[in-house]
Symmetry: D2
């Protein structure tokens, strides 16, 4: 039987023998490890592992072996074919820079996602989505309709068997209920600064404060707005000639860059939740 | 007479004719511009200019011409010989990384400062200062003795004709009085994160939050702690394997790097105050 | 009359009085300088200046004044309305990453160019160009037809009144004749490494050599292939897990980033030729 | 018995079962893995592993188990106590920036090396070495005395039981014989550019070419000058105002930064040789 390449990612309470148990089950199925990383977090007492391996065993066989061998370890795990494209919904508002980047990278084959739909609370980005052959769902949101709108989103996510929801400058705060329903599979991107700014028009505040770096943070969505586990951060230099508009434009570049990395790492099962932190086996 | 290289830095309320007035007085004294930058800030209505030029005129002649020509513009200006080393005091506590970097760069000739003294609230760094041939002044600070200690510092700054005070991880908050006395000529360095953290043990907070970047901000000291005009910021990448101790060590690298740049730009008259922002003609 | 914002960029043999002459003509036309930079290169003996200013004078008046005042300085200069979009042709082959970025940025309003046409030696990128509303010209090139193909390109450039030609991974070497015809108005992007590699399949060579950084260089096209004046360079980190394919994908990100900056700076008249170097007033 | 923290690094021809064998021997000695990485290189057919683990077993027990269990794998391995400082000799000429950085980091406790001696072909850096309490050996080198000088160096390295030799801007080319004798345990730092330059005065060539980035490469010393396996690379931005002297000063910063990282990773057994490449488990 032909050999395939697999990714196994897992976490569990730390104790001796985990790697040995995993490597043993791989060895018994002719698994050859091509890349692997492990980390034990002394603070949370959790152990994390990601292993890419080739094996001619089929999924059922591997899953059976995992269930049997790893049961004692109280483990959270995923097994996936390496390179499989993760079913994704991208949620947008009017700003195109992040979703354009994701659509382009999917088509270029450099981001292992399969964007099943684009959801917008405005119609603005329908042409872009449709150029890339993606269904565009217009789901407007007002204070009154938010519960129904979120129900629509969740129904779509479930009907499309979606594994990842990317908030690509969606500009809407998800309710705690939807955040919880999408726990660990929704990624948001937002601007970040040193120092950070609260409130509206952050690039105007950054300009007013005269910052020399502007940044962006990609993080998992939680009910605690903009405070979810950080996956990736990036910055770019700016100087005194930058206007708030220039800062916004440069910030858009940083945002799309940090988001694309976070999505790629998530889709490659490189990101594992460690309490309110992440382990990123990049 | 031999030609020397000069730096003229200035700011004033914006209006037409400033550059023409400056370039006219330079032209009349055979000044040849080698590097220059100008910027008008539409928010504050201020205009900023830095010009390096060669001229065989002496200082008195140039200053006289500046006073005469630029009087109508309500200008703040400095005229300096390019490359002259700025008289500097470095204030330290126990951490050596920033002061070691400044002392090394001064000796290597890559930082145009002349460190006239190192002031420490502990004796820890005396040997390092003395290895570089610098007088070390031990001025301890307690809650009770702070006013006297600051008076000593200020007396030292004045007696040594000091133009720049660098707080190189001094770890003491200057009083509003001393901050005011050193307005525009004291530079501090502190850690910075996205998001930022308030309170004690910031690298522990950063670790707890799982940040992927750690940073540092060099800024002018004002009575508003850690909120003075930003001169320079920098960051470095970290990952989940970093402990609070590792973050602290990596942070030290970022701190010394941002501080050295800020000090160099200040010493080269490249930094001009624009309200609570800075113009940096780097 | 309403005030407009202008950009004047110039270079000439260095001598005293240039800035004074320029600022004088601005002052006489109520020009208010908002941003300006000057630099004198001691190696080439050339002086460079870029000034943004507001003035209510019209173009004819300003141009007349420039011609009159600046004649003695043997000056090369351009006068442009700030923010005017530069007429551009983008040349492509099959790789989409650079042209997609340029088209997106033009539409987003963050790159002051007006892409008048996309030229491809393959049909591959026609749909992308047409999605952005751009005429796509398929001009195939073989060893035999190269002179005719280049004549077609040049005719197109002239008929469309094109100011800038961007080789966005065009993968064809321009003849010395076409390079000369497009002197100073054609920008190319190519991969760059430390150390550099000659010959085919550079990302494979980079992988074989185990580089830790991959880079890209945007430069003006000259008859000396890949050796034209450098406008911008950038790099990204890679590690041992990167395959040649991964390196190529990461390299594409660096390429589009460096190219976008170079194009923006050129379109804003921030890049001036200084022999085989560039002055970039970024 | 108290538990200690260990590092096991190894490489061998790739085949199934390696990780299982290693994790098995760790499990049998109560080893708890805290951080680990594995990589199989499809090009060279080699497998690489680094594992940090805690265990109460003593060195003899662990080494015996490793010899027994890993014998069939034709493995190259090292076992070390985590955090143990590696015995190091630093070789210098007149430039202080790299050795100053290494000495400072050793003292600060952020670099796990124990500098046993500094060797200089000039006396220039004796005071710096002695300030840090290090023996300084002046071993001059001329064309005639090079064989004897290298013999002295090698004798010193052997008598001091040195594990790592750092060429910190030593400015002398090691003979093929000495390069071979120090194979895999000598690290050099040199400037790097895009494009690269051959021959003398590289920063002057870089200036002449108008590069926008300057870089440095830390690599293992081989008989093939400046072409040894790359451990780390870094760059910094420069612009047209930089003189060759400025480039040299900025280059010094990049050099010391890249060198310090390479030395730390080597001393932590994070760097494994993979033919003429390196695997860096950073």
């Amino acid at each position: 039987m032909a050999s395939a390449s697999w990714i196994l990612s897992l976490s569990c309470p730390d104790r001796p023998g985990i790697v040995h148990a995993v490597s043993g089950l791989l060895a018994r199925h002719e698994g050859n490890i091509t890349e692997s990383q492990q980390f034990g977090d002394p603070d949370t007492g959790l152990f994390f592992m990601r292993v890419e391996f080739s094996s001619s065993a089929d999924r059922a066989t591997l899953e059976g072996a995992i269930l049997e061998v790893l049961a004692p370890f109280d483990m959270t795990w995923t097994l996936d074919v390496a390179g499989r494209r993760m079913r994704t919904v991208v949620m947008v508002s009017k700003a195109a820079h992040c979703v354009n980047d994701l659509l382009f990278r999917e088509r270029a084959g450099t981001l292992p996602i399969d964007i099943a739909a684009v959801v917008g609370n405005h119609e603005t980005l329908r042409p872009l989505a449709e150029f890339y052959g993606k269904p565009f769902h217009h789901i407007p949101v007002t204070a009154d309709t938010k519960p129904q709108a979120e129900a629509q989103v969740l129904a779509l996510v479930e009907s499309l068997d979606v594994e990842l929801v990317v908030l690509a400058r969606y500009m809407q705060i998800l309710s705690p209920e939807l955040s919880t329903a999408l726990h660990g599979r929704a990624i948001n991107i937002h601007h970040s600064f040193l120092p950070s700014f609260k409130g509206a028009r952050p690039y105007f505040q950054a300009h007013d404060r005269g910052v020399k770096l502007i940044g962006a943070t990609a993080h998992y969505v939680t009910a605690d707005l903009d405070e979810g586990p950080i996956i990736e951060q990036d910055v770019d230099r700016v100087d005194h000639t930058a206007t708030p508009e220039t800062l916004t434009a440069l910030g858009a570049d940083v945002e799309r860059r940090a988001l694309a990395r976070a999505v790629r790492w998530h889709a490659e099962h490189r990101v594992l939740l460690d309490g309110h932190r992440t382990i990123v086996f990049s």
